[in-house]
Amino acid sequence: MTLLVIDWALIIEKLILIVVVVLASLVIALYSTYGERKIAAFFQDRIGPNRAGPFGLLQPLADGAKLIFKEDVIPNAANKWLFILGPAMSMTAALITSAVIPWGNHLEIGKRIVPLQIADVNIGILYVFGVVSLGVYGIMIGGWASNNKFSLMAALRGASQAISYELAMGMSLIALLMLTGSLSLKTIAAQQVGHLWNVCYQPLGFIIFLVCAFAECNRTPFDLAEAENELNMGYHQEYSSMKMGFYLFAEYVNMFISSAVMATMYFGGYDLPFFNPANHSANFAALIGIIALMAKVLFFIFLFMWVRWTIPRFRYDQLMNLGWKKLLPLALANMLITAVVILWLHK
């Protein structure tokens, strides 16, 4: 009697893919911290980390080891379970977003076609939104459970910022979705292969999305949740050891994932211009696709850092004004114009 019919090959294939993607996100996030410090040093005319290993390449590992071996303090007055749940949720939400991103077209192993995407759900981009909106809980729970006024203030700031910018982000996306007619990231990426990238049709939408992505990742100029000079340190003030590390790390994973989402949606995903995948073997094309996507992702990560070390932090009311009074109306206008143009061209 078979209780369940399970396609073991599929499960193993997906399991390997998940492990690879999660590991890759973690390693890239790890080395983003190194990149961040090197780039900051470059912008400020310093040298940056150069002690651990050649060019300081082992610095992130040393930082990680330091965080793990530090004493893990849970404040007496903190809500113990929620205090632990906060960073865990931040990290989980950051990592599971990668499930719907197509990392390449597909591999051919023997006769089996292995798509380089963990799950092709037909609501792909909405899934990303759903998970991103969960990331807010990590900040809020952590900030509240610390039982510290500054943490709470920072958490409230972070959450209201995330909610406000999610709106403009969603609106700018609707315009893009009108063009693509699909919510699946795989379809959106496939549509752009060999054609103009979506950013050519949606430049304004992309800029709005980019600004909102900065806000969603809590990066400067929108890092009000961790404004040291107003809030001591931010929502993770009471955290120490690896719990703190999780919060810091989740930011970098978020940065990586949002770069991947932006590259997929607006910059052709795994598409390399003037390279026709049909002329090459599937595996080679997939490899080129992965490299192309990673190059785009790295560029966006660099952009995140570039902005961080160039633009100073907004004031809180400026942040809210920008979100509600500038970006949201702009996104609405962009949506209307797109709709009108699409209707006009079809007639």
């Binding site: 209780l3 609501i123 759903g130 909106s133 809020m140 729970i141 958490a155 909610i163 999610e166």
Partner: protein, 170 residues
């Protein structure tokens, strides 16, 4: 017993457990978080019914936005289990009566449904019907149910305007 039945049973047990924890928790913040968990398990049920769009919208709107606002209010008011006071007997009575009426409606709905199933010799099935997918749901909303849909949006608009008006007064 297929995988769907197993998933359904697991999800149902989880849903009921989370829902009980919502009302059993002393700490209001815990209650809110259990409610978020409940929304997740309910979204799982939506996915079992092949309504992925409903599932994710449920998460984005309820878990992602509304519950965050709940958390906001609770955190700002600093409600604790010690400050909580519910000693009014009439309130308890009213709660029991309204919950009983809700139960009544639910039971009658389930009963009529099962009776109809018995008449038509139908079995409840998983993963069938495409109405929950975004394409079908969108076309139905904007054709068959366009009028109620627009009425709903007017209702939301009036609520928003009302909130702004109340906010401006102070």
């Amino acid at each position: 017993m297929g995988i769907n039945t197993i998933l359904f049973s697991v999800l149902s047990v989880l849903t009921i457990f989370c829902a009980i924890m919502v009302i059993a928790s002393k700490n209001p913040v815990h209650s809110v978080l259990w409610l978020v968990a409940t929304f997740f398990t309910i979204s799982g049920h939506y996915i079992l019914l092949n309504a992925q769009f409903l599932a994710i919208v449920n998460i984005i709107v309820y878990a992602g936005a509304i519950m965050v606002l709940f958390l906001f209010v609770i955190m700002l008011m600093n409600l604790n289990s010690n400050t909580e006071q519910r000693k009014n007997l009439w309130m308890k009575l009213a709660g029991i009566v309204s919950a009983g009426m809700l139960l009544w409606i639910l039971i009658s709905a389930v009963r009529t449904y099962t009776e109809q199933l018995g008449k038509q010799k139908l079995n409840a099935t998983f993963n069938t019907g495409n109405i929950g997918l975004i394409k079908n749901l969108g076309s139905v909303l904007f054709t068959q149910y366009a009028f109620p849909f627009e009425i709903c949006s007017v209702l939301f608009l009036s609520a928003m305007v009302g909130a702004v008006v109340i906010g401006k007064k102070q």
